[in-house]
């Protein structure tokens, strides 16, 4: 019997029982509910109306909340399981390390992605049921972006969990990583660097390498790719890539980064002390 599904199922069941998941699902369900209550689906902002407007607002909020939520919940549960002796017992059972690690990552991925996409899908279905024009393209692209963002930060979370043994340090490291990525988006430090006349190649390189910036640019490019909203680096990049090329980058790069980080974490996990 393949043991990877057993480990994945274990993580899904554990997550569904945990308080962090309850909070997590409530946050995303709550966001959609609030957007509906405050009539975002009905409003007209920057040329977007109905469901498109709701999706655009939702994806912006996801960018702010999802990465830190994934990072903190992942490193906290993995590191505290190790500290509390859960690993000592569970890894004394004859489960291959690959099945344990990748199974738990897969389970966590399902748990992380499900509420986010479900909330969006529910809002979408509700809007369509009320007669709104279904923006299929936008929905599919945003689902793809949420997928790549989730893979990216889940992989980074697993990597941190394998590098750092204490849950306190792991949470701090996760928070610092998120903060560093946040600082290097277009409207914060990159703007300052631009004013200081740092080489454009470096700025564009940072913009393309920062998954938060990549996600933000891709999400905004779909509804208003103007300089004032995007920021200068993103504007230049979009100009060079084109919308299609940039969307492909925005989905592929964070996914590869997440898988790479997870693979590095797995190598570290299996080559060091397990408990």
């Amino acid at each position: 019997m393949n043991k990877l599904p057993l480990a994945a199922g274990l993580d899904v069941a554990e997550s569904l029982r945990s308080r962090w998941f309850l909070l997590y699902a409530s946050v995303f369900g709550g966001i959609v509910a609030l957007l509906m209550i405050f009539g975002v689906t009905e409003s007209r902002v920057m040329g977007f109306t109905g469901l498109s407007r709701l999706l655009v607002t939702y994806i912006q909020l996801c960018m702010a909340i999802l990465p830190i939520f994934i990072l903190i919940s992942t490193v906290r549960s993995v590191a505290s399981d190790r500290e509390a002796g859960v690993f000592e017992y569970m890894l004394s059972l004859p489960i291959p390390l690959g099945a344990w690690y990748w199974g738990r990552l897969l389970g966590r991925f399902v748990v992380v992605l499900l509420p986010v996409v479900s909330a969006m899908a529910l809002a979408f279905a509700w809007g369509v049921a009320r007669g709104a024009e279904p923006p299929w393209r936008l929905f599919l692209i945003y689902s793809g972006l949420l997928f790549s963002l989730s893979v990216c930060f889940l992989g980074l979370g697993f990597l941190i969990s394998t590098l750092v043994r204490s849950s306190d340090v792991a949470q701090s490291a996760a928070f610092l990583l998120w903060l560093a990525l946040l600082v290097f988006i277009d409207l914060i430090l990159l703007g300052v660097m631009m004013r200081e006349q740092v080489s454009p190649e470096i700025l564009i390189g940072i913009s393309l390498a920062n998954p938060l910036q990549v996600f933000r640019t891709a999400a905004m490019a779909l509804f208003d790719p103007q300089l004032v909203l995007l920021g200068p680096a993103a504007f230049v990049i979009l100009d060079r890539f084109g919308q299609g090329g940039y969307l492909a980058w925005a989905m592929l790069y964070p996914t590869l980064m997440g898988v790479g980080a997870a693979a590095l974490g797995y190598w570290r996990f299996r080559s060091g002390d397990l408990v």
């Binding site: 029982r17 002796g85 017992y89 059972l93 004859p94 080559s271």
Partner: protein, 295 residues
């Protein structure tokens, strides 16, 4: 069955296992004893493939790190402290049975023999069980599989007398299995084991086979020392001996299974001993053997 050669494990330059050599034949039952920090748990984790290490570890010719799943199929492990698992009991049994290729019903049956109705508590989170219930379930998972090597870390610590009896009966029946029972006290597990291995500072300091029978009877000891040495006196109190004459005379009874370790301990203080007298007590009031040693 188990072969450890030059096993070294360090944590931040502190050697917890120090060039440890140990061979355990199939079917042997080992009491692994030693004070806190002696290296027992680290040794067990090396056997379970959970720690990287220098030196070599083999279980049936396989390396636990390299051939993890294959080695662990043969191992039933009961930790000293139950893990704080949030999953329901039935999920834990299903997972353990699933990854081990065991029959969940057999685990439930063994739990029943230990006095735990696993079906009744099936929906309850494992961490909400009492200490004794957790211990029984972990023992049932270890014994309800076809494990040929049992590694039990203080297995009877939280058990009530009936469960303790049931556990010892079950272990006694598994005559072909190899067992490593980690314990602070040998007398707890004396009836189960055939060999005592004592660890201290990451090394084996005592290794001897137990002879069941009169030699396992309690040993009455009276020691006279030349001067009151604080370290010796503290150790005597730990062994349960009482002082007389300002700490120069010590009397007490040593549990039968501990007598070899006690003698080994005394040998370190041979220069301090003025005289020593021992009596084996087969039954209350009967002395069948007296040894007097006068310095």
């Amino acid at each position: 069955m188990i072969c450890l050669e030059g096993l070294v494990k360090s944590f931040q330059k502190i050697r917890v296992l120090d060039s440890l050599d140990l061979t355990i034949e199939a079917g042997e039952r080992i009491a692994l004893v030693g004070s806190n920090g002696a290296g027992k748990t680290t040794l067990i984790r090396c056997l379970l493939g959970e720690y990287t290490h220098d030196g070599r570890v083999f279980v049936d010719g396989l390396a636990p790190r390299r051939d993890r799943a294959e080695v662990l199929k043969r191992v039933g492990f009961v930790p000293q402290l139950p893990p704080p698992l949030k999953m329901p009991v039935e999920d834990l049994i299903a997972f353990a049975a699933g990854v081990s290729g065991a029959d969940g019903a057999r685990i439930v049956r063994v739990a029943g023999e230990l006095g735990l109705d696993a079906q009744e508590v099936g929906k309850r989170p494992f961490m909400k069980l009492s200490g004794g219930q957790k211990q029984k379930l972990l023992i049932a998972i270890a014994l309800g599989r076809d494990a040929r090597l049992l590694i039990l870390d203080e297995p009877a610590a939280n058990l009530d007398p009936a469960a303790r009896r049931a556990l010892f009966d079950m272990l006694a029946q598994r005559t072909n299995d190899t067992m490593i029972v980690s314990s602070h006290r040998v007398d707890e597990v004396a009836s189960l084991v055939t060999r005592v291995v004592e660890m201290e500072r990451g090394r084996v300091v005592f290794d001897d086979r137990l002879v069941q029978g009169p030699a396992m009877a309690p040993l009455s000891a009276q020691l006279r020392i030349a001067k009151a040495e604080p370290e010796f006196m503290a150790a005597m109190e730990e062994w349960g001996l009482a002082a007389e004459g300002g700490g120069l005379v010590w009397r007490g009874v040593i549990a039968g299974p501990d007598r070899l370790r006690f003698m080994h301990f005394l040998s370190r203080y041979s220069g301090l001993l003025a005289s020593a007298a021992f009596e084996t007590r087969i039954a209350e009031g009967c002395h069948n053997e007296t040894i007097d040693i006068c310095a």
